[in-house]
C-alpha cells in the first residue's frame, strides 16, 4: 500500500534524523541553555525557594571568592572554584555523618538548627584542621542558608543535586569529587557514598518534577542520569555498588516506592525504547517539521504503558516487552506521520493517544483483575499468558482504531493544516503563559496582591464566548483556551 510505503519511508527518515540529531540530543551548550531557561522558568514557578537558595549561594560564593585569599587559583577561575569549593565544603559535611565535637567556625555555634546536623558540620572542621592547615575555608558564610541557618548535610547534597540538575552537567560533581579526593578530604569509599546520595537526591528532584506533571523533565533527566551512569561507569566501578543497592534495597531508599519503580522502569525501558526516545528528542528540537505536541505525547502515555512494561520485567517477558514497545513506537510514529501530513489535526492525534493509554489501563485492569495504579512486581510474573493475550488484543484494538481514525479523518483534511507553525494549542498556551507571567511580574512591581486568577478566568471565558459568536475564534479553539485557563 502506497501509504504504508510512505509510512515506512517516513519512519526511516525519522530514524535517520534521529541518528543525526542523536549527536545533538545530548545536552549541548545551546540546547541545555534552552532547556535550562525552560527548566528554570518551570522551576521558579514550581520551587522558588530552592532556586533562591541556589542563587543566593552562588552569589555568596562569587562574593566570597572575590574576597577570600586563594593562594594558587588564578583570578579567572576563582569564581568557579569558589563555587566548587563551597560545594566541597558542603560535600565534606555530607561525607561525615558520624558526629564530631567542634564546629568549623565560631559563628556557627550560634545557629544550630538541630543536634545531629550540626555535628555533621563540625566534623568537617576536624578534617580540615588535621589534614591541610594552609587551607582557609573557615569562612562560615558558605555554611549559611538564605535565612542564616547552617546547611545540613541533606541541604548540601540537595544543593549539589540541584546544581547538577540546573546546569545539566554531571561535570560539576566530577570536579568537586576529584578535588576532594586530591585534597585527601574524602576517601574513595566516601566518594562513592556521596555519589550515591547525590544520585538519590537527583532522582528525588526528577520524580518530584515528574509528579508535578513535568514528565518531560523525567525524560531528559533520564538521559542525564543515563549519561551519568555512563560517566560513573567510566570513572571507577564506583557506580556498580550503589546501583545494585539502589535496585535491590528498595526499603532503604527514602523515595516513594511508586516513583522509584517508575524511574527504574524508565531506565530499563530506556535501553529498549532508545529509538523512541530519540525521536521524541528530535520532535522536541525539530518543532517545525513534525508537530512537537505529538512528539511529547509519547511521554504522556508512559504512565500506564510503563506500568504495563514493568509488569513484564522477568526474562520470559522480555520478548513480550519488546513486542509491546515496538507496537507502541510504531503506533506513535503513525500518528505523528498522520499529523504531519495533515490527515488528522494535532488535537485528534492527542485524543487518540489519550484514549489509547486509558484503554491500556482499562484492559490491564480487566485482564489482570487489578488496576495499574498500584504496581506489584512480584505478583505479576505469574500472569504472563494473560499479558500476552492482553497485548495481542491491545494491538488489534489499536490497529482497528487507527484504521477507523485514518479513514474518518481523511475528509476533514484542511488546507491550512500544512503549516510550519506549531499547533495552535501550543501557540495559545505560550501566549497565555506569557500573559500570566507578565501579570505576576506586573503585580509584584506595583505592590499589588496576587492578581485575581478567577476574575481573569471569568473575563477570558466571557471574551472567548463573544469571539466565538462573532466568528473570530472557532468553537474548539475557544474550548482549548477555556481549558487552559481552568487548568491554571
Amino acid at each position: 500500500m502506497a501509504s504504508k510505503r510512505v509510512g515506512l519511508f517516513v519512519l526511516l527518515q525519522l530514524l535517520a534524523l534521529n541518528v543525526v540529531s542523536q549527536t545533538s540530543a545530548f545536552p549541548t551548550p545551546t540546547a541545555s541553555a534552552d532547556d535550562k531557561t525552560v527548566y528554570n522558568r518551570q522551576l521558579t514557578e514550581e520551587r522558588p525557594l530552592q532556586e533562591q537558595i541556589a542563587e543566593a549561594d552562588s552569589v555568596k560564593a562569587a562574593l566570597q571568592s572575590a574576597v577570600s585569599k586563594q593562594p594558587t587559583a588564578p583570578k579567572d577561575s576563582e569564581s568557579e572554584q569558589g563555587d566548587d569549593f563551597t560545594m566541597l565544603k558542603s560535600l565534606a559535611d555530607g561525607q561525615n555523618p558520624k558526629g564530631a565535637p567542634e564546629g568549623p567556625g565560631k559563628k556557627e555555634d550560634q545557629y544550630i538548627p538541630d543536634e545531629s546536623d550540626s555535628t555533621k558540620s563540625r566534623r568537617l572542621a576536624d578534617d580540615y584542621d588535621s589534614t591541610k592547615s594552609g587551607m582557609d575555608y573557615d569562612d562560615p558564610e558558605s555554611f549559611r542558608q538564605v535565612d542564616g541557618t547552617p546547611l545540613t548535610a541533606e541541604d548540601i547534597v540537595q544543593k549539589i543535586a540541584n546544581k547538577i540538575y540546573e546546569e545539566d552537567d554531571r561535570g560539576v560533581f566530577d570536579r568537586i569529587v576529584s578535588k576532594l579526593l586530591k585534597l585527601g578530604l574524602i576517601t574513595e569509599n566516601q566518594a562513592d557514598t556521596l555519589e550515591f546520595q547525590v544520585a538519590e537526591a537527583l532522582q528525588d528532584l526528577i520524580t518530584k518534577n515528574a509528579k508535578n506533571n513535568e514528565i518531560e523533565d523525567m525524560e531528559s533527566v533520564d538521559q542525564e542520569t543515563r549519561g551519568e551512569q555512563d560517566d560513573l561507569g567510566a570513572d571507577a566501578d564506583a557506580w556498580e555498588p550503589p546501583r545494585r543497592r539502589y535496585n535491590e534495597d528498595d526499603e532503604e531508599e527514602e523515595v516513594n516506592d511508586d516513583d522509584e519503580i517508575v524511574d527504574k522502569v524508565d531506565r530499563d525501558a530506556e535501553q529498549d525504547v532508545d529509538g523512541a526516545d530519540n525521536s521524541w528528542d528530535k520532535d522536541k528540537e525539530e518543532g517545525n517539521e513534525v508537530n512537537p505536541e505529538d512528539g511529547l505525547q509519547d511521554l504522556q502515555y508512559f504512565p500506564n504503558f510503563y506500568r504495563l512494561l514493568k509488569s513484564l520485567d522477568s526474562d520470559q517477558d522480555a520478548q513480550e516487552r519488546e513486542t509491546l514497545i515496538t507496537i507502541m513506537k510504531t503506533l506513535i510514529d503513525f500518528v505523528k506521520m498522520m499529523v504531519k501530513y495533515g490527515t488528522i489535526t494535532p488535537e485528534e492525534g492527542v485524543s487518540y493517544l489519550e484514549n489509547l493509554d486509558a484503554m491500556i489501563a482499562m484492559q490491564t485492569k480487566n485482564k489482570l483483575g487489578k488496576s495499574l495504579v498500584v504496581p506489584d512486581i512480584s505478583g505479576l510474573t505469574g500472569k504472563n499468558l494473560d499479558e500476552d493475550d492482553n497485548t495481542k488484543s491491545e494491538t488489534a484494538k489499536m490497529q482497528k482504531e487507527y484504521e477507523s481514525l485514518k479513514d474518518s479523518t481523511k475528509e476533514e483534511q484542511q488546507p491550512s493544516a500544512e503549516t510550519s507553525q506549531p499547533g495552535k494549542s501550543e501557540t495559545y498556551l505560550e501566549a497565555i503563559r506569557k500573559n500570566i507571567e507578565w501579570l505576576k511580574k506586573h503585580n509584584k512591581e506595583e505592590g499589588k496582591n496576587d492578581y485575581d486568577l478567577s476574575k481573569l478566568k471569568d473575563f477570558m471565558d466571557q471574551q472567548v464566548d463573544s469571539y466565538i459568536e462573532k466568528g473570530i475564534i472557532a468553537k474548539d479553539e475557544g474550548d482549548t483556551i477555556k481549558r487552559i485557563y481552568s487548568s491554571l
Binding site: G287, Q300, S416, P422, L429, W438, M460, K470, I472, S487
Partner: protein, 456 residues
C-alpha cells in the same frame, strides 16, 4: 483524569515550544507568511498574551466570507476614551501585496511584547492612543495570490477582491467633488452626502469597501496609513490630479502636514529614504520621489482611492505606504522588511500626537459634538467627535483656530504649535440664545439704571 492529561500534554508541549520557538524567531516574532487561518490565530495569540490591552473585532466579511479582522490596542480596549486619538493601519487591500499584511501582524506581536517588557515608548503610546491594526482588507485576494504555485508570484493575481474589484479604485470619488467646490465654493470636508444611504444603496461598492467606509464613519480616526507593495515610497494626498492628467502635483490644503507625516515614516526606513536607491524596475519613473516621499498625483493619478476618501469624508489623514519593490517576496525576506520598517511603523503612530487637540463645550460644560474646527489659511476643517473632542494635526507654526457650531457663537484662539506634543486648546461656546438672553438682561439693566436715574 482527562483534563489532567490535557494539561500535562500542554504543559509538556510548552517546553517543546519554548525550545522550538527559539529557532527562527526574533524576540518572539515568527517571520513567515500567514494565510487566513494563521492570521486569525496569530491575532488571537496576541490577544491571549495581552488581553488587558488588546481586543479583536471584525468590521464585516469579505466577499467569500472571511472576517475582516482588526486587533485594537489601547489601555482600555473596546471603548473610545474622550480625548484619546484613534489610529489605524490597513494593509493588503491589494491581495497580492503581501508585505504590509505581515508587517501589521508582526507589529501587533511586537507592541504586545514590548509593552510587557516595559518599553516606555510603547507603553506610553498604548496608554495614550487607540491603535487599530487590520492586517488584511482583502483576505480573498491574498489567498488567491498565495495559492499560486512556484516561487514567483504574478503581478496581478490576487490584487482585486473575489469579485474582481480593485478596492483602491472602489471608493466614492470625493476628489472630483472637492475640486469643484474649490472652484465654485462649497464644503471642504465631510463630502459624502447622506452617508449611510449613499453607501448602503451603492451597488458598485464591494463588501470590503462598504465595511471600511462604515468603520471610518463609526470611529473618529485621526491618522491612518494604507500599506501596499510594488514600490518603496510614502505617498500622500491628493492621489487624483485636478486636471485629469496622468501626472500632476495635486496638493491638498494640508500639503505641509502631509509631507511632514510622510517623512516621519520614510526617514526611519533606510531603503525608502535612501536618495541613491535605484528604481524598482529599470523604466520606473521615480522623478516625483524626494526623501522617500511623493505626492500621489505627481506620481500617477489614482481616482477612487481609500487614502483621499479618508481625508475628504472624515477627519482622518491617511497616507499610502509602498513598502517593497516585490509585491509578494520570498518568505526569507520578511525579517528584513520588518527590520526596515519597524521603527517607521512606530514613529508614524506617534505622529498622531501633534498639532492641537482639545474639547469643545458649551458654557455649562456639555460637550458639543460635530462642532467645526477651522484653521485660518488651511482650507480644510475638521469636526469634533461625540465627546466634543477633536485632534487637528498641524505642522509647527502660529495659527488661528476657530471653533464653531450651529446656534453657537464662534470663538477664535491664537495658538503657537510646536513639532510635538499636541497643544491643548479647549473652547467654551456660547449659544446664540444665551447671548440673546444676555443682551436682553443687559438692556433691562440699562433701562433700570436709566429709570432710576431719571426717576420714572
Amino acid at each position: 483524569m482527562k483534563p489532567l492529561f490535557s494539561s500535562v500534554i500542554l504543559g509538556a508541549a510548552v517546553l517543546a515550544l519554548a525550545g522550538a520557538a527559539s529557532t527562527g524567531t526574533d524576540s518572539g516574532i515568527s517571520f513567515e507568511y500567514h494565510r487566513y487561518e494563521e492570521l486569525r490565530k496569530a491575532l488571537v495569540s496576541v490577544w491571549l498574551q495581552c488581553p488587558t490591552i488588546t481586543r479583536i473585532y471584525t468590521i464585516g466579511e469579505s466577499f467569500e466570507g472571511r472576517e475582516l479582522l482588526v486587533l485594537e490596542m489601547s489601555d482600555n480596549p473596546g471603548k473610545h476614551e474622550a480625548g484619546e486619538p484613534e489610529f489605524k493601519y490597513i494593509a493588503n487591500m491589494h491581495g497580492n501585496e503581501a508585505v504590509g499584511r505581515e508587517l501589521v501582524i508582526y507589529l501587533a506581536q511586537y507592541l504586545c511584547n514590548q509593552y510587557q517588557q516595559g518599553n516606555e515608548t510603547i507603553i506610553d503610546l498604548v496608554h495614550n492612543t487607540r491603535i487599530h491594526l487590520m492586517p488584511s482588507m482583502n483576505p480573498d485576494g491574498f489567498e488567491k495570490a498565495a495559492s499560486q504555485p512556484g516561487e514567483i508570484k504574478d503581478w496581478f493575481v490576487g490584487r482585486s477582491n473575489a469579485q474582481g474589484v480593485d478596492l483602491n479604485r472602489n471608493f466614492p470619488d470625493l476628489d472630483r467633488i472637492v475640486y469643484i467646490n474649490e472652484r465654485e465654493g462649497g464644503a471642504n470636508n465631510h463630502l459624502l452626502e447622506n452617508m449611510k444611504k449613499a453607501v448602503d444603496e451603492n451597488t458598485k461598492l464591494a463588501p470590503e469597501t462598504k465595511a471600511v467606509i462604515h468603520w471610518i464613519m463609526d470611529i473618529p480616526f485621526v491618522l491612518s496609513a494604507n500599506l501596499h507593495g510594488g514600490d518603496v515610497v510614502a505617498n500622500y494626498p491628493y492621489d487624483e490630479t485636478r486636471s485629469g492628467s496622468t501626472h500632476e502635483y495635486s496638493a491638498s490644503p494640508d500639503d505641509v502636514m502631509f509631507k511632514s507625516l510622510a517623512r516621519a515614516y520614510s526617514m526611519y526606513n533606510p531603503v525608502m529614504s535612501d536618495p541613491q536607491r535605484p528604481p524598482c524596475r529599470k523604466n520606473d519613473d521615480d522623478s516625483s520621489f524626494k526623501d522617500g516621499i511623493t505626492n500621489g498625483g505627481a506620481w500617477y493619478s489614482v481616482p477612487g482611492g481609500m487614502q483621499d476618501f479618508n481625508y475628504l469624508s472624515s477627519n482622518c489623514f491617511e497616507i499610502t505606504l509602498e513598502l517593497s519593490c516585490d509585491k509578494f517576496p520570498n518568505e526569507e525576506m520578511l525579517k528584513n522588511y520588518w527590520e526596515q520598517n519597524r521603527d517607521s511603523l512606530v514613529s508614524y503612530i506617534e505622529q498622531v500626537h501633534r498639532g492641537v487637540k482639545g474639547f469643545v463645550r458649551d458654557l455649562q460644560g456639555n460637550p458639543i459634538s460635530n462642532a467645526t474646527i477651522a484653521v485660518e489659511e488651511i482650507d480644510h476643517d475638521i469636526t469634533t467627535a461625540k465627546d466634543g473632542d477633536y485632534w487637528r494635526l498641524l505642522a509647527p507654526g502660529n495659527y488661528k483656530v476657530a471653533a464653531s457650531a450651529p446656534g453657537y457663537l464662534t470663538v477664535i484662539k491664537k495658538v503657537a504649535v510646536p513639532f510635538s506634543p499636541a497643544t491643548r486648546v479647549d473652547f467654551e461656546l456660547e449659544s446664540q440664545l444665551e447671548r440673546k438672553e444676555e443682551e436682553k438682561e443687559e438692556l433691562m439693566d440699562w433701562w433700570k439704571m436709566m429709570s432710576e436715574t431719571l426717576n420714572f
